[in-house]
Symmetry: C2
Subunit: 101 residues, 2 copies
DNA sequence: AACTTATATGAACATATATTCATATATTGA
DNA sequence: TCAATATATGAATATATGTTCATATAAGTT
């Protein structure tokens, strides 16, 4: 790939690094990958992935801040789903790439 | 995007997280982005990006370990270039995405 | 061999990060 | 209002990470 080089401005650099940081942690990867198949409550995510509820909640806040996930409320339950198709696409692409080792 | 959910095995998870970790640091992003436009020596990279030679060298080792960059020698000079088109493609894709805010 | 230039390396430090535990908040139903 | 359930939050801790400084290695030149 041959790209025209253009130095990265601070803001772009920040957004890009934050985006990839979100995808650099195994727990967040597993959560996002699960959410690629539908919406789940915090407890469901924790159970499916064998994580503490607190851990899931912390990481969901992280992902929410970056607008990578969203939720809808139903009673006391919050159903989370992904909210950034582009980022999810990159993740799934990279997972497939990694699987062909 | 609707994906079939398949729990991630340890190895895939490791590769994916490592890949994104490489792309999560501003310095490494700037280096890879520069390398998207050609090959550069360590000193050239340091000068262009206003970084210490040592910093660049450390980060290049990091990227080299993940086989994201390679180098060729010419005398005492090492010319680095990218070595993973897929990862570079993801980076450039995300940069463009971030630039349209 | 001595000198110069280019690059790599290791230790030290400061900072960032993920997880855990304990507890707080919020919603629903009795 | 009280109890039960679901989720969020803050503090503490352990670990990971990036940069810097000093120095080592390596290749080329005289």
């Amino acid at each position: 790939m041959k790209e025209l080089y253009e130095p990265l401005d601070e803001e772009t650099l920040f957004i890009v690094s934050q985006t990839f940081k979100a995808l650099s942690d195994p727990t967040r990867i597993r959560i996002l990958h699960l959410l690629s198949s539908g919406e789940f409550s915090v407890t469901e995510i924790a159970n499916r992935l064998s994580l503490l509820q607190s851990t899931v909640s912390h990481q969901l806040r992280f992902l929410k801040n970056l607008r990578l996930v969203k939720y809808r409320r139903e009673g006391t339950t919050l159903y989370y789903s992904y909210d950034d198709e582009h980022v999810l696409h990159i993740l799934e692409q990279t997972i497939r790439h990694a699987r062909d080792h």
